[in-house]
């Protein structure tokens, strides 16, 4: 009897501890006056001046953004940075924005290459802080159309350094798919000839791809922005994806797994990043990639600094280094995207790449629907309806996969 009581007391102790930990986060951003983006970020100050490099840096990056020679011994732009600054770099690649957001909460990473569907969540939760762009000399050369955007700034305060951008392309096996697709229809048509051979991205944000398709094919739904969906529009997009599911062979979040599927022709058509296409092609898979007539969703990535970082000088040095013309060009070329630095194009080995990715084409950049975190306040400016927020998107995604 006595023992049982002790055990109970122990259990209560654990739960109390947990309760105490849990409440520490409730001083959140749900304050009164929301800013232009529907929320007020926690008050955090940007770094005012650089100190001595701390000798260490933990980088959380999209695969291909911070290569340290582990995938290809010739591709290494981490080493020169270490030599220059003495900051020893540890790189952790992530597969989806959701993963990045969760990992940033641990406070173990100093910088992160965040896409638009992650950045605002990081800002709102106080996981990243504003950046002092004056401490990043190369920021001056960044294309103006990438600066102070909805996904990398709040109320005109910059929260990061633009890195590069690109589209989620439609890729296909040239030997199995003909004619060459110019529309997303083979992906979404219930009677697609590529039934069971379709590969789609595994993240709630993929719902936007369906919404983008509906923008062109069901104009009566009135979708203006695939990240601002009211009830009716949202349900239409979810329905479309539920109908797509039986035709899908796999959902991918690991780009290497997708590369393998395309190489083995287990999948012949799907959404991909240019880096996946390049990688599979280099391994001998006959692949084509295109931005179809409906347009595409895409990413515009930003390097952000963790609010909890212990290595902020190294973090700023990294941000300046990774968008310096030469390195920005190397990364853009390796990953297959448009660089953020306007001087990067001159540094490319393949001089046509900047044209291929429309690097200095602001009009083209505007056509891509960049990943943005869906919030209740409609991002397309409508005030008469409530939009579905990311929590709803996540729930729907579980339902779609069934």
């Amino acid at each position: 009897m006595k023992n049982r009581k002790t055990l109970l007391a122990g259990l209560c102790g654990v739960s109390l501890l947990l309760a105490a930990c849990g409440t520490s986060g409730s001083d959140s951003s749900t304050g009164s006056a929301p800013g232009a983006q529907g929320f007020t970020p926690p008050k955090l100050a940007a770094l005012t001046q650089l100190g001595q490099p701390e000798g260490q840096l933990n980088v959380l990056a999209w695969p291909g953004y911070a290569e340290n020679g582990s995938n290809d011994s010739k591709i290494n732009w981490v080493k020169p940075f270490e030599d220059q600054t003495g900051c020893k770099v540890t790189v952790k690649p992530f597969g989806t924005s959701d993963e990045a957001v969760t990992l940033m909460k641990t406070g173990q990473y100093d910088v992160v290459s965040a896409s638009g569907d992650a950045s605002l969540r990081l800002v709102a939760s106080g996981d990243v802080e504003p950046v002092n762009t004056a401490l990043v000399p190369n920021y001056n050369d960044v294309y103006p159309f990438l600066k102070n955007k909805a996904w990398n700034s709040v109320n005109n305060v910059a929260y990061g350094i633009p890195h590069g951008w690109g589209a989620n392309v439609l890729t296909y096996r040239t030997d199995k798919v003909s004619p060459e697709p110019t529309s997303w229809s083979p992906m979404f048509d219930v009677n697609s000839p590529y039934k069971g051979k379709i590969i789609a991205y595994d993240s709630p944000i993929y719902i936007a791809d369906a919404a983008l398709y509906l923008m062109a094919h069901q104009p009566d739904l009135g979708i203006k922005n695939p990240y601002a969906l009211d009830d009716k529009q949202f349900n239409a997009a979810v329905d479309l994806l539920k109908k797509q599911r039986p035709n899908v062979s796999e959902y991918w979040s690991d780009y290497l797994k997708e590369t393998q599927s395309l190489k083995n022709a287990d999948a012949v058509i799907g959404t991909a990043w240019q880096v996946t296409v390049n990688l599979a092609k280099s391994e001998g898979a006959p692949l084509g990639a295109t931005v179809p007539s409906e347009g595409a969703t895409g990413w515009s990535d930003t390097w952000m600094v963790s609010a909890k970082s212990q290595h902020k000088t190294c973090a700023y040095k990294w941000m300046d280094y990774i968008i310096s013309p030469k390195v920005n060009a190397q990364v853009a070329e390796y990953f297959g995207e448009a660089p953020a630095n306007s001087k990067a194009c001159a540094e490319m080995t393949d001089k046509t790449l900047c044209d291929t990715y429309h690097a200095n084409d602001a009009a083209y950049a505007a056509k891509i629907q960049y990943w943005t975190t869906p919030i209740q306040q409609c991002l397309d400016g409508r005030t008469d309806v409530k939009c579905k927020d990311y929590g709803d998107w996540t729930k729907a995604w579980t339902e779609i996969k069934g």
Binding site: L7, G10, L11, V14, S15, L18, A19, G22, T23, G25, S26, S28, S29, T30, F39, T96, D98, E99, V101, T102, K105, R121, A124, S125, G126, G196, S203, P204, R245, V248, S249, E250, Y251, K257, Q260, N264, A265, D266, T373, I375, D389, Y390, G391, D392, T394, K395, W397, T398, E399, K401, G402
Partner: protein
């Protein structure tokens, strides 16, 4: 002998006189471990299940509610996933039992003592290799260009591709040793004289198997099934690698932590396999299988 005995001697004499204290000190460390690390974690899980998260910032909101449980029970998708998961776990268990029994029987009753040792090692070798390597190996085998399709193609058949069938195959492969070893241990303990006696009384081999061997080995099979069933129930990696579009309970937990950052709902879902396992254990307790572990 007037010399004072050494402290160690005095301590052991002291503990000899107080057996309860001795037992208490011996058990305190494991009990603390069980209480804090194990039951404490389960309790924390259960408590978290009643909380929620701020979907945008991802912070845990410690307001008590049954919302998560309501979602779990009312959304048909979670029912579907639970049934699929239990179905896969049962199928894996049955397949493993069917494959494991003859193997374990041969090992325990037919092989020479030397061969027995070698066979036990052979059964255990796959456990020394990484889970991921084995699962990815199956991904390659099951691919459209893989060995299985290549073997089946002369007969006009194709492989199962990625999906539930592939998941069952992969999991059955992964957990097979966990079924063979308990059955082997059970059959080894079965006295040969019983089999002989059955034969002397005129039973043919099938009758001996049905009336003597199987009833005596049954608790061992159930003991193995606890491993295969519970391991399959909690798995989420194999299905991610070879499962195509299908998902299991583990994936819902993983996605809610990794993607949605909704720890409370993940905790709610994680309680489902715990409850299923408790029910399962309550049922198999009657067979005496737990004495066999």
């Amino acid at each position: 002998m007037t010399a004072v005995s050494p402290p160690s001697r005095r301590a052991s004499a002291f503990f000899f006189r107080k057996p309860k204290l001795r037992l208490g000190i011996l058990l305190s460390a494991p009990l603390l471990w069980l209480g804090l690390a194990y039951l404490g974690a389960l309790a924390a899980l259960f408590i978290t299940a009643f909380w929620s998260t701020d979907v945008f910032t991802g912070k845990v909101v410690t307001d008590w509610s049954f919302d998560n449980f309501v979602t779990l029970f009312t959304d048909s998708v979670y029912r579907t996933i639970t049934l699929r998961t239990v179905g896969i776990a049962l199928l894996v268990t049955v397949i493993d039992a069917v494959i494991a029994f003859p193997m374990a029987f041969a090992m325990a009753k037919l092989a020479s003592p030397k061969a027995q040792r070698i066979l036990v090692i052979a059964v255990m070798t796959p456990l020394w290799a990484s889970y991921l390597v084995k699962a990815y190996a199956w991904r390659t085998l099951l691919s459209g260009n893989g060995a299985i399709s290549w073997l089946l193609s002369p007969f006009g058949l194709s492989g199962p591709g990625y999906g539930v069938a592939a998941t069952v195959i992969t999991l059955s492969y992964l957990w097979l040793p966990y079924m063979i070893l308990p059955i082997y241990a059970g059959l080894e303990r079965l006295p040969d004289s019983l089999v002989d006696a059955s034969g002397d009384l005129g039973a043919r081999s099938f009758r001996t198997f049905r009336s003597v061997i199987l009833p005596l080995a049954f608790p061992a099979i159930v003991a193995g099934s606890i491993f295969t069933f519970s391991l399959s129930l909690g798995d989420y990696i194999a299905v991610k690698i070879v499962g195509g579009t299908s998902q299991m309970l583990g994936n819902v937990v993983y996605d809610n932590i990794g993607a949605a950052n909704n720890l409370p709902f993940a905790a709610t879902v994680a309680i489902v396999p715990v409850v299923i396992m408790l029910v399962y254990l309550a049922v198999v307790r009657r067979t005496g299988a737990l004495n066999n572990l």
